[in-house]
């Protein structure tokens, strides 16, 4: 959310080493001209314009007036436009994330949580297994019996993707945005094809993590939040009683 505050200071994304107002933007949140038949608030991706008035590009401020801003007030920290404070939140919690995830990885490997619970088993590593899980998720059919005690293959892939692909990507692309670190580790610029590319990737990866969190929370709520929360913290999971038909 502090990241969206920072994005709002320049709601355009580029690809390459540089990118500013006169350069071509891959994505842009902006206000159109209704007199020209354009939407008031819109997201422009390439040459496509998606009307998003009220949410992206143009949204209501705390007085209820429509103002031009990338993400709306309810999605940013602080809710009002204040880049300096947004950056303070962002970098403080970036450090919190670095320390807590370092601890998480250390403990998860040491207790073999990753190897035992997260790596898919041989039978789970198949298109059939993943496809079946995907279909079950769409129909909101949750595993029953002993299967519910373990992560299913789709769940494992999602966790591994977040932990070993998205989280490192967010960290590395974030570090590439620092002009100080670019001097010390110029290979970061080669890796991502430039600072502006890194900024775009940082935004995309963070967006996917937000989507993951939303879906994950929804799944927890739908699968029985109390039992799920207890199992996350203590590891004790009570098998829900099977419904008698």
């Amino acid at each position: 959310m502090s990241g969206l505050q920072i994005f709002n200071a320049h709601p355009r994304l580029y690809w390459g080493q540089f990118g500013a107002n006169t350069d071509h933007a891959a994505l842009e949140m902006t206000a159109g001209d209704p007199a020209k038949g354009e939407s008031l608030g819109m997201v422009r991706i390439g040459s496509h314009e998606i009307p998003t008035t009220g949410v992206l590009g143009v949204s209501k401020d705390s007085n209820g007036d429509l103002v031009e801003r990338g993400f709306p007030a309810w999605a940013t920290i602080p809710s009002y436009q204040d880049l300096a404070t947004g950056r303070r939140w962002h970098f403080f919690f970036a450090w919190v994330l670095v320390f807590s995830s370092a601890l998480y990885f250390l403990v998860s490997f040491a207790t073999r949580h990753v190897q035992r619970d997260l790596l898919p088993t041989r039978t789970q590593w198949s298109f059939r297994s993943i496809g079946r899980d995907f279909w079950d998720h769409l129909r909101l059919r949750f595993p029953k019996g002993e299967a519910a005690r373990q992560y299913n293959s789709l769940q494992k892939l999602a966790y591994l993707g977040v932990l070993f692909v998205l989280a490192p990507m967010i960290l590395a692309t974030g570090l590439t945005l620092s002009p100080g670190l670019d001097a010390g580790f110029p290979w970061l610029l080669n890796l991502f094809g430039g600072r502006q590319s890194a900024r775009t990737l940082h935004f995309i990866c963070a967006t996917i993590v937000v989507l993951f969190i939303v879906i994950h929370l929804a799944m927890v709520v739908l699968a029985g939040p109390l039992n799920e929360l207890r199992s996350m913290i203590t590891g004790r999971y009570v098998l829900p009683p099977e419904k008698v038909k």
């Binding site: 990118g19 006169t22 002009p179």
Partner: protein, 256 residues
């Protein structure tokens, strides 16, 4: 049956919206609480020390090729100081302009633009990163700051270099100013630039002289420099935070 599901859905939606509203309001209150702000700001010291530890003091920012230059180098902040004093200097092609170097130096200086141009120069094609998020690549030519500080005889007690500018960004506020530590002041790419992309520095980009401190964000690169002062601490200058934007909540160390 349908109506019951709808109401439940509506309730969930309303609950989420209310919860979100509370969260946003709570974060806004925290942002304005001095003790919480103090906690958030403690991250700056950590970032500064981590970068100084991990990045060599003379590690160079990437230098690019002519073909990498931004087609247009965006001007930001003040595009023209437009004060009577500055306009008079500009009308005369800055012939009467003098760069003052004073403070904790053995030999205070007053240097003309021609005197600066006569000194050994450095040209570098670097990327300029604005705190807002955009970047532009430009070619800069100027005098290394380290050479000027050595020339003026920097005192051993000096810890910061302060830059005083001709422009005022806010009505009624003091003129723009900035400060950097000696590590960045003596960095080989830290120059006082008088040329951009092979021509005289335009007024929009800080004529006659601007700072390039390549491992930090754009607001550190003071434009329209009038005076350079070597000091022991920055607590009593301006708002006490070391720069115009720093006094308004931004990080003094802008390598991040």
């Amino acid at each position: 049956m349908t109506s019951r599901i709808l109401t439940r859905r509506q309730m969930l939606l309303r609950g989420t919206t209310a919860l979100g509203g509370l969260l946003v309001a709570g974060c806004d209150r925290l942002s304005n609480s001095p003790s919480f702000r103090g906690m958030l700001e403690s991250a700056e010291g950590l970032s500064y020390r981590a970068q100084r530890l991990l990045v060599g003091h003379n590690a160079l920012a990437r230098e690019f090729k002519e073909s990498d230059l931004s087609p247009v180098f965006r001007s930001n902040g003040t595009s023209d100081p437009d004060t009577p004093g500055y306009n008079a200097l500009a009308a005369d092609d800055f012939r009467q302009w003098r760069l003052k170097i004073d403070g904790l130096v053995a030999r205070p200086q007053e240097l003309s633009l021609d005197q600066l141009r006569a000194r050994a120069s450095r040209t570098q094609i670097t990327r300029h990163d604005c705190v807002e998020g955009w970047s532009a690549i430009g070619k800069w030519t100027g005098v290394p700051l380290s050479a000027l500080l050595t020339f003026a005889g920097l005192n051993a007690s000096a810890r910061y270099i302060v830059f005083y500018c001709a422009d005022t960004l806010e009505m009624g506020a003091d003129p723009y100013y900035e400060s950097i530590d000696l590590i960045d002041a003596f960095h080989p790419q830290t120059i006082l630039a008088y040329e951009l992309n092979g021509t005289r520095l335009p007024v929009a980009n800080g004529a006659p002289l601007r700072l390039r401190v390549e491992r930090q964000l754009g607001y550190k690169h003071a434009k329209y420099i009038m005076r350079i002062q070597a000091v022991q601490d920055i607590d009593h200058i301006g708002g006490g935070k070391g720069g115009f934007w720093e006094d308004r909540g931004y990080e003094w160390y802008a390598g991040i």
